[in-house]
Point group: C2
Chain length 150, copies 2
Amino acid sequence: MERRTLPAPWTDVPERFRRRGMRWTPQRRAVVEVLAETDGHITGAALVERCRARDAQTIPSTVYRTLDVLEELGLVRHGHGANGREEYHVGPGSEHGHMHCAACGGSWEIPHEAADRIVGALADTVNFEVDVSHVTVVGRCRDCSRRASA
Amino acid sequence: MERRTLPAPWTDVPERFRRRGMRWTPQRRAVVEVLAETDGHITGAALVERCRARDAQTIPSTVYRTLDVLEELGLVRHGHGANGREEYHVGPGSEHGHMHCAACGGSWEIPHEAADRIVGALADTVNFEVDVSHVTVVGRCRDCSRRASA
DNA sequence: GCCCCTATTGCAATAGTTTGCAGTAGCGTC
DNA sequence: GACGCTACTGCAAACTATTGCAATAGGGGC
C-alpha cells in the first residue's frame, strides 16, 4: 500500500521512471508533488522556492535536473519567458506558447488557432517545424496597445 | 574636430544621446564602436567579451546598461536565444525574429513573409501586437526534420 | 534480506545578467 | 573656464541556471 498516491496525470509516473531504468527518489517525488499542485505554468526559480518551502534542504540543481528528466518523459515542457528565464508548462496535453505584454507584464497562452497559424507560417515558408510549447512572443496586449494609441 | 567619426548608421548617435539629455561617455562609445563592427547579431556575453578585448577595464553591468539605452533609442533590439540568453540584433531597419533548431543548434532569421503571418495570427485572434524582433521560435529546421523522419 | 551497479544527489564553482548605492564626471549655464 | 546638477560608472552582492565530481542510495538479482 502506498502512503500517498500521486494525483491525476501523475499517478503512474514512478512506474514510468523505473521502466526507463531511472530511479524514483524522495527528491523527485517532492518536485512532482509540487508540480501536481501547480496550475499550468511555473518558473524554474518559483518551483525551487516552492520545493524549498516543503523541504528547506532542497538543492536547486536537483530540481533543475529533475525537470530535465520530466521533460524527457514529456511530463513538462520548458520555454523561456520574456526575461529569458526558464518557464515550465506543466502537464502533457496542454501544449501551448505564451505571449507576454511588455507594457503591463501580463502573460497569456497563445490560443490554438493562432498557434496553428504560426506553425503554418514557418512550415510553409521555410519548412521549419516549430515547437509550439517553446514559443514566447513579446509585444503589447490588446488593452495596452489601445491605451497607448488613445 | 572629431578624432574618429563613427561609421554608417551610428554617425549621429552621440548627438542623439545628448538631445535626449543623455551623456556620451567613453564607455558608451566603446560599446557602440564594437557594435558598429558587428554584423547582425551578438549575445550579451560576447559583446562584453569584445569590449573587454579593447579595454580590459570594461565592466559588464555598464555594457548591459548601455545596451538598454541603445534599445530605448531603437539602435539595437534584444531577444532571447534558445537557451534564454540575451541576444542583440544590431542596427535598426533589420527587424526580424529568429528560429533556432534544437537538433543542430543552427539559427536563422525568420523571413519577412512568415513574420507577417505570425503577427497577423495574433493580431486577428487576440489583438496582440507582436514585437517581431523579439521573437525566437525553437523547433527543427528543414534538414533536421527530414533527417529525423528518414 | 543482502549485494552490487550505477543513477542520483549534494555541494561547490561558474557563467550570464541584474540591481543598489556611493562616488565620478558629462555638459549646459553663467 | 569654473560650477553645479544629475546621468553614469564601478563595484559588490544577489539571482537564475548549469556543470563536474565524489559520495550516496535505489532497486534488480541472488
